[in-house]
């Protein structure tokens, strides 16, 4: 007992040390969140202010502020951009999840001739620099008129999410033992029933993790959105980046508020994902 208590004490000391290290590491995020609650003058104060009266003016500003450019008042339109980000990411992840899960199931259970080659090509399409694909897609969208439309960007993001979804879902399907399925097959269950009633329920957690990772990847994506969305379909990262390069000087407090709103869902979800994090960030190639 005495020994255990000793370890306990050392454990708490370790917690204190690690808490300091972790907070230093997390500091860049923390400081942005603090900046989001500062008034314009506080955000630009020298020396930096650690104690200040918090204000919500930046958050209100994100959605309502109009500013002068060449005399005309312009709405920031961030309500639209946030809607676009949610709508585009949600739709494309859903489509990718449906067709990707079917494909992953096939790759796992009915290997095609050259299965490994297919999987390799699929992974390569995810690994290659997006700039290579975007040149012809840019031309393609210009010809077909998809440039700047929801359909175009959703289609592109579906393709962007598919390799990830297939690799992730295949790794989950590969993990479940096939005995139950085989038994059901012997009993004469239809393949449709086996898929929906036996296999899918076993990978429920995997589907959730894949969906959430896909949402984060799409939510964060910048280059495709920069080149292929129009003023009405613009997503938050593009709008955020354009506020930095703006000709009116950067409103850091406002930018911090946008970032905070943009990051909070990701941070929350990361907490929920912790057990699947390794698999997610390696696109399902490493399980543990």
């Amino acid at each position: 007992m005495a020994r255990r208590r000793e370890i306990g004490k050392a454990g708490w000391r370790r917690t204190a040390v690690m808490a300091v290290i972790s907070f230093i590491y997390f500091f860049p995020v923390l400081w942005i969140i603090l900046t989001a609650f500062k008034s314009h003058t506080d955000a630009l104060a020298t020396p930096p202010k650690f104690l200040f009266t918090p204000t919500l003016e930046n958050f209100v500003g994100v959605f309502s502020r109009t500013y002068q450019r060449g005399g005309e008042a312009i709405d920031t339109k961030f309500d639209l951009f946030f809607f676009n980000s949610i709508f585009i990411a949600g739709t494309s992840v859903l489509i990718a999840l449906i067709i990707g899960t079917l494909a992953a199931y096939a790759f796992s259970r009915w290997p095609l001739k050259g299965n490994d080659l297919y999987m390799f090509i699929i992974l390569t399409t995810r690994m290659l620099p997006p700039i290579i694909v975007i040149i012809p897609i840019f031309l393609m969208f210009r010809v077909t008129g998809l440039s700047g439309s929801y359909v175009g960007i959703i289609l592109l993001y579906t393709a962007f999410n598919l390799p990830f979804t297939i690799w992730m879902m295949k790794s989950f399907f590969d993990e479940i033992p096939t005995e139950v399925e085989d038994a059901a097959r012997v009993d004469g269950s239809s393949e449709t029933k086996i898929f929906f009633k036996i296999c899918l329920p076993q990978v429920k957690a995997g589907i959730a993790a894949t969906a959430v990772f896909g949402l984060i990847l799409t939510w964060n994506e910048y280059l495709f959105a920069l080149l292929l969305t129009g003023i009405d379909t613009r997503t938050v990262p593009v709008a955020m980046a354009s506020t930095i390069g703006g000709d009116i000087g950067v409103r850091w407090g406002l930018l911090a508020a946008i970032e905070t709103l943009f990051l909070i869902p990701v941070v929350l979800v990361t907490f929920l994902l912790q057990n699947q994090l390794l698999r997610g960030v390696t696109f399902g190639t490493i399980k543990r």
């Binding site: 972790s22 020396p47 067709i99 990707g100 390569t124 700039i131 290579i132 040149i135 939510w219 390794l278």
Partner: protein
């Protein structure tokens, strides 16, 4: 129901059951072919033509002229050098920081999970947001870094004004963002070391240094290699972060090859040249991805054995 109809139904059912795999894969492959393979083939074709997307001129077939031009272009070699420099320093630092973090988080202590998540958060954030953070911190007058340096030296400090400073600024941001990735992989390796090996070493009074190289290292070697390859592929594509923080500047000192392709394609509109350059990049990535998968499979085979 006619006999012929029943017969047809039977044939369809038979066709489905014989081709279940290909049928299930088709929708996914169709999307990938449409949005990835076809565009890639198109730009492959384009790389043999002379074509500018902002002109009305018909594309003109020029054989390998674009490739020859690129390979003889000192600008391209300069950008490749910049990229190689960024990738090597970047990945090396990520390995060191990630490794140290993993060693710190190796043991159990109260609150470990929550603190671990704080450290893992950066890699889940968007490049644009992280780029914006660091632009704020590097800001000449009221950025945290500039103020800290000014407090010490008493002089105004502009990190992004010098080529070395700008490189350091971009690399620092990327290392901060991706060291947790290395940590995560190393931690996974550390967990897989059987406890009894440590106990045996303790009885033998093996030194900590020796214990690390003979017991721990063999278990994390595989994952470390995967981490290096994965980060190399990703760092090779570095675009968003450098674009947001420096836009390739000052001059072209932080212009990575990805930014250069972007400029050639969408600012100078030398469309076919950028396609050719893209293909050279693609080749490099395919080699690296192949290598990566080779080691993934090797590791999986070792685990099963």
């Amino acid at each position: 129901m006619s006999k012929r109809y029943q017969h047809q139904q039977g044939l369809i059912a038979q066709f489905i059951s014989e081709n279940r795999g290909p049928l299930l894969v088709t929708p996914a492959l169709a999307v990938l072919v449409l949005m990835n393979i076809f565009p890639l083939l198109w730009s492959f074709g384009l790389s043999f033509f002379k074509y500018r997307a902002n002109r009305l001129n018909e594309p003109e077939f020029v054989w390998f002229k674009n490739y020859i031009k690129i390979l003889n272009d000192p600008n391209v070699w300069d950008r490749f050098q910049t990229t190689a420099l960024v990738v090597s320093i970047d990945v090396l630092l990520q390995l060191i920081v990630g490794f140290l973090l993993a060693l710190l988080f190796q043991s159990q202590f109260p609150g470990r999970r929550v603190l671990l998540m704080l450290v893992l958060t950066p890699m889940m954030l968007s490049f644009v947001a992280v780029g914006a953070f660091f632009r704020y911190y590097y800001e000449p007058t009221f950025g945290l870094l500039s103020q800290a340096v000014k407090a010490i030296t008493g002089e105004r400090y502009i990190l992004l004004a010098t080529p070395e400073g700008a490189l350091a600024g971009v690399i620092f941001a990327d290392v901060w963002m991706w060291s947790p990735f290395v940590m995560l992989l190393v931690l996974a390796g550390l967990v897989s070391v059987p406890k009894h090996l440590y106990e045996a070493a303790e009885i033998d009074r093996t030194s900590a240094w020796r214990r690390f190289w003979t017991i721990t290292f063999p278990y994390i070697r595989g994952l470390l290699l995967l981490a290096i390859l994965f980060r190399t592929i990703e760092a090779f594509k570095l675009f968003d972060l450098a674009w947001i923080i420096t836009e390739g500047g000052p001059g072209t000192s932080t212009e990575t090859i990805a930014i250069y392709v972007y400029r050639v394609a969408f600012q100078y509109f030398k469309t076919s040249e950028s396609a050719a350059l893209g293909y050279i990049l693609l080749f490099a990535v395919i080699v690296l991805t192949n290598l990566y998968l080779f080691f993934v499979r090797k590791r999986a085979a070792e685990e099963d054995a």
